[in-house]
């Protein structure tokens, strides 16, 4: 690729959403001076500028902020620290030798980096990925696209809406559409529980009398040019639609809000080992991936429910990348963390440290007064009790240095009552 201008740098951060911003800032504060931040869009902050609702920042700033306000705090800091940022710049390829090929308005570059932080975020699952049968009319959107159209572009998408998926994004967009004059006829959820926070069920659905249909799914989209109705059905315990119980809801718009997938095409192509559960990289506690000197954080690593946790994780990735660049000693993986009953995943997947660390844990089912057990070779070494657990809420558990030093293996499991 001889048309690319080569440039040696200490650190390249890919993506300038909340993760990339915090990672770049943290790396700079921890001593990396020669770094660049790459962003394919023409703005900083990623998805935050379109998330105009409040509730961001409670953990980091102890005050409720809207998405644009939260982003601006990091954008201001990035500018104060004079961290160079390339906008409208698309990373074409990353190689295992940590060469980052970029197409930008300033030209084609090959950044030869000592370390890389992956912060590309995630994208929405679409209608195609969940295979909803029916015709292919206009009026089927993902929730994030609708949020973008309404909140950034002043484009309204429809009048009579059905939303499939009750994660926080689905709930928040239901309220937003209602405020903007649409009628949301139902939020349809295949699981027997909502995947959003209970408080969003209250302030986004109950406040506006929007029906939530649990254990239901959309089984057909009807309409030729524009959506005319959707068919919904209750599902059995195996999540299969029950025949003969279908009902039709007339509507002109269907929103699918059915999950997010870490955007790891770049990572996969240069050999970063991915987890089949999180669809993000497999990392050790310093957030280093299977490729030395390559770190991952934010939604490209695993989908977070709170941006504050993205920021905190990205700050750790920035610090780890700085330590790597500055030549601090590296350790080998010592323990592979296993997941047992009731646990969807635990991050990091590998532990090599002998210092305090924090595990991020996601459970499979909601529950009250739940105990999570930590086993070393089938021996219960630690128990942590929770008043309430929910798949939509990441659990953080701290392990002390002394606890980790004593471990040979580690398995995390929800304990039976």
């Amino acid at each position: 690729m001889s048309d690319f201008q080569s440039r040696v740098v200490d650190l390249v951060v890919i993506g300038a959403g909340p993760a990339g911003l915090a990672a770049a800032i943290s790396a700079k504060k921890n001593g990396v001076n020669d770094l660049i931040l790459l962003e394919r869009n023409n703005w900083l902050g990623g998805i935050l500028p379109q998330c105009i609702h409040d509730g961001f920042g409670l953990e980091v700033f102890q005050e409720p902020l809207t998405g644009p306000e939260y982003a601006q705090r990091y954008i201001d800091e990035l500018k104060d620290l004079k961290i160079p940022c390339f906008l409208n710049s698309m990373v074409l390829e990353v190689t295992p030798k940590k060469e980052v090929f970029v197409a930008s308005p300033e030209g084609l570059f090959c950044f030869i980096a000592k370390a890389i932080i992956l912060a590309m975020g995630c994208r929405e699952r679409t209608r195609g990925q969940i295979c909803i049968p029916g015709s292919r009319p206009a009026g089927v959107f993902t929730a994030g696209v609708v949020q973008n159209l309404i909140n950034l572009k002043n484009v309204m998408v429809g009048r009579d809406v059905v939303i499939l998926g009750s994660g926080d994004i689905g709930l928040i967009i239901a309220r937003r559409l209602t405020l903007e004059g649409a009628k949301v006829h139902a939020v349809v959820e295949i699981m027997p529980h909502t995947n959003g926070l209970p408080r969003n069920v209250q302030q986004c659905l109950i406040d506006y009398d929007i029906p939530l249909l649990l254990s239901h799914t959309v089984t057909e989209i009807n309409g030729l040019n524009r959506v005319e109705s959707v068919t919904i059905s209750p599902v059995d315990e195996n999540l299969k639609p029950i025949k003969g119980k279908e009902q039709r809801i007339p509507c002109d718009t269907l929103l699918v809000s059915v999950g997010l997938i870490p955007e790891n095409d770049l990572s996969k192509a240069f050999g970063v080992e991915l987890s089949s559960v999180t669809a993000g990289a497999i990392v050790k506690e310093n957030l280093e991936t299977s490729v030395h000197g390559v770190f991952a954080c934010g939604n490209v690593l695993h989908v977070h429910d709170v941006v504050d946790f993205v920021t905190l994780e990205a700050e750790r990735a920035g610090k780890s990348a700085a330590e790597y660049v500055l030549g601090k000693s590296q350790k080998m993986d010592r323990i592979h963390v296993e997941t047992g009953d009731g646990i969807r995943y635990v991050l990091p997947q590998n532990i090599c440290t002998d210092a305090d660390l924090e595990l991020s844990i996601r459970v499979l089912c909601p529950g009250e007064s739940v105990s999570i057990g930590f086993f070393d070779d089938q021996k219960l070494v630690k128990t942590k009790k929770f008043v309430k657990v929910h798949p939509a809420q990441m659990i953080k558990v701290k392990l002390k240095k002394s606890e980790i030093m004593a471990l040979k293996t580690l398995k995390v499991e929800v304990l039976q009552k």
């Binding site: 409040d54 809207t66 306000e69 601006q72 909140n151 002043n154 408080r199 209250q202 302030q203």
Partner: protein
């Protein structure tokens, strides 16, 4: 009377049961902290919500600026406020915190910008 609501004070989302008579609360259960108690009292006496939305911008690098109420607004005023905001247009540049509408319907609640919008070009 009995009312069941979910506390919106934090991500925990406690399910509250409020026993009340008119606007007097007799008992609140299900809350795990005093935020739930205060929220329950507000829900019975004068429910409030923070409202976020957008207003149109003239000559801005974006067509809309995001806005919020500077403090919670009486719930019954939410749709009135949306109708009012639909008619508002502001001129760029706008800075976070700029006041967009003052004293909504005499409630003492203001609408402020939550985004910087620079002048076009």
């Amino acid at each position: 009377m009995k009312k069941e609501i979910i506390c919106i004070g934090c991500p925990m989302g406690c399910y509250l049961t409020i026993d009340y008579d008119g606007k007097t609360i007799q008992n609140v259960s299900g809350n795990r902290c005093k935020v739930g108690l205060e929220y329950a009292e507000k829900e019975i006496s004068n429910p409030e919500r923070t409202l976020t939305s957008t207003v149109r911008v003239k000559n801005g690098h974006l067509p809309l600026v995001s806005v919020r109420t500077n403090k919670p607004l009486p719930k019954g005023r939410i749709f009135d406020t949306m109708d009012l905001l639909a008619k508002v247009e502001v001129e760029a540049p706008i800075k976070i915190g700029d006041q967009i509408v003052e004293n909504l319907f005499g409630t003492g609640v203001n609408i402020v910008a939550t985004k910087n919008v620079s002048h076009k070009g």
